[in-house]
Amino acid sequence: MSGRQTPTFRIIPGEKGLAADDAHPDLRELYEKYGASVHGRCSYLLRDRNQAEDAMQDVFAKALTHYASFRQEASPLTWLIKIATHHCLNLLRAERAGWHARFEREARARNATDPGPQVFEMRELVIQMLSLVDQETQAVAIHYHVDEMTLEEVAALLGRSVPTVRKRLSEFAAVCGKEFSP
């Protein structure tokens, strides 16, 4: 809607779009190798089918925009997961601002019931706790607890030192509980 100067995707005669197989030989490969992984990360964080698909498209669009450097990555998947995580956390932060948070608070108050004992996997526990910490700590927690990367791997991925990553994980554990201790 707003901000769009051009219509949605359509094939214009005389101009090949990316939907054509031979227009961009790598897109189908990206789709088959990484589609589910990126879509899975977006779905996990956004919890909304439409938003997740939009976000996944945004991530692959970024990959194509920076395709030369993307191809040089030691692990394109790790790069995509990092971008997807960052993108979705940004979307969540934007959504939490303003009226959305107010409305959700009111809705929670209306629907406040005891959910009873529930068993969550680690990834579910992590996402329940994300809103309690800042965005960098969110990213660290996701890569460490959900992607099961090591401290060193998370540090290399996010361009932070190992002590910084450890500190973020300790902060996350302090807020959320000792089961999250690094």
């Binding site: 779009g17 939907a19 589910a36 939009d54 997961i81 934007a94």
Partner: protein, 261 residues
């Protein structure tokens, strides 16, 4: 440099990201051989890998390549933008609050559309960037917007309802306005007009049609979005002749057509 170790973690199992990279074919011959050896001896990791393979199959069933490619191309050409929400965002709180008070206090009675026997009403107020005056726009109207015009949606209902607002532009781009995702908003009966939070500024050119759904039963905003998509297809993309979308839930639908500056 390899970012993810291919050796098993302290748990004795391969990390999920390692298995994903293995499935994607990112590993060298040596890394593949090492992973193969682990998989041959580790049933849980083999099982996890099978889940990842099936996950990709399900993804390809749900989102065919053509749809994926079209969406990526669209996102690459035109970065996605949300409508600009004003008054509560960015500006000083006092200024924003004052603007809202002015908006609510100084406006005349809204121009509601109320069909005979209906217990639900809806309206739109447009606040001009140039003048202090605001204008009411009843549903079913066409409205020409000036640069900086801000739009706010209001409703009044005699019984509990579930609300969602969806917009579509000339290009067929559909945006969930309220809520931005998830279940429709539960709204309580009210004698006074309730304006939805924030005001919207439609940027860009062309037309924008907005539908406000007020249903008696709960529904998901995705259903409203899908209904608009179906209606758009049936009208062959002509916003002016776009019928009110319909879906299960006994909803009442109000619509406005805006011509953007």
């Amino acid at each position: 440099m390899t970012l993810v170790e291919t050796t098993p973690s302290q748990s004795g199992h391969l990390a999920e990201l390692v298995l994903r990279r293995y499935r994607a074919g990112e590993f060298s011959t040596e890394e593949c051989a090492e992973t193969d050896r682990h998989l041959a001896a580790c049933a849980p990791c083999r099982s996890k890998l099978r889940v990842l393979v099936e996950e990709q199959r399900a993804f390809e069933r749900d989102i065919p390549f053509e749809r994926f490619a079209g969406g990526v191309e669209r996102a690459r050409r035109v970065p996605r933008q949300r409508p600009r929400r004003l008054w509560f965002a960015g500006l000083g709180g006092a200024l924003a609050a004052a603007a809202v008070v002015l908006f609510l206090v100084r406006t005349p009675t809204p121009a509601f559309n109320r069909s005979k026997g209906s217990s639900v009403e809806a309206t739109v107020r447009v606040a001009s960037a140039k003048a202090s005056a605001q204008r009411a726009v009843p549903p079913g109207s066409q409205e020409v917007l000036e640069p900086g015009d801000r739009v706010r949606f209001g409703y009044r209902t005699a019984d509990p309802r579930f609300l969602a607002a969806v917009s579509i532009d000339d290009g067929g781009e559909i945006t969930l306005l309220y809520p931005e995702s998830g279940p429709a908003l539960a709204v309580a009966p009210t004698e006074k007009t309730i304006f939805l939070p924030d005001s919207l500024e439609f940027t860009g050119a062309g037309r924008e049609k907005v539908f406000l759904f007020l249903a008696r039963t709960p529904f998901d905003s995705a259903a409203a979005k899908q209904a608009v998509k179906t209606a758009h297809a049936s009208a062959r993309g002509d916003l002016a002749s776009l019928p009110n979308p319909a879906f299960a839930g006994g909803q009442q639908v109000f619509s406005w057509l805006f011509r953007k500056p």
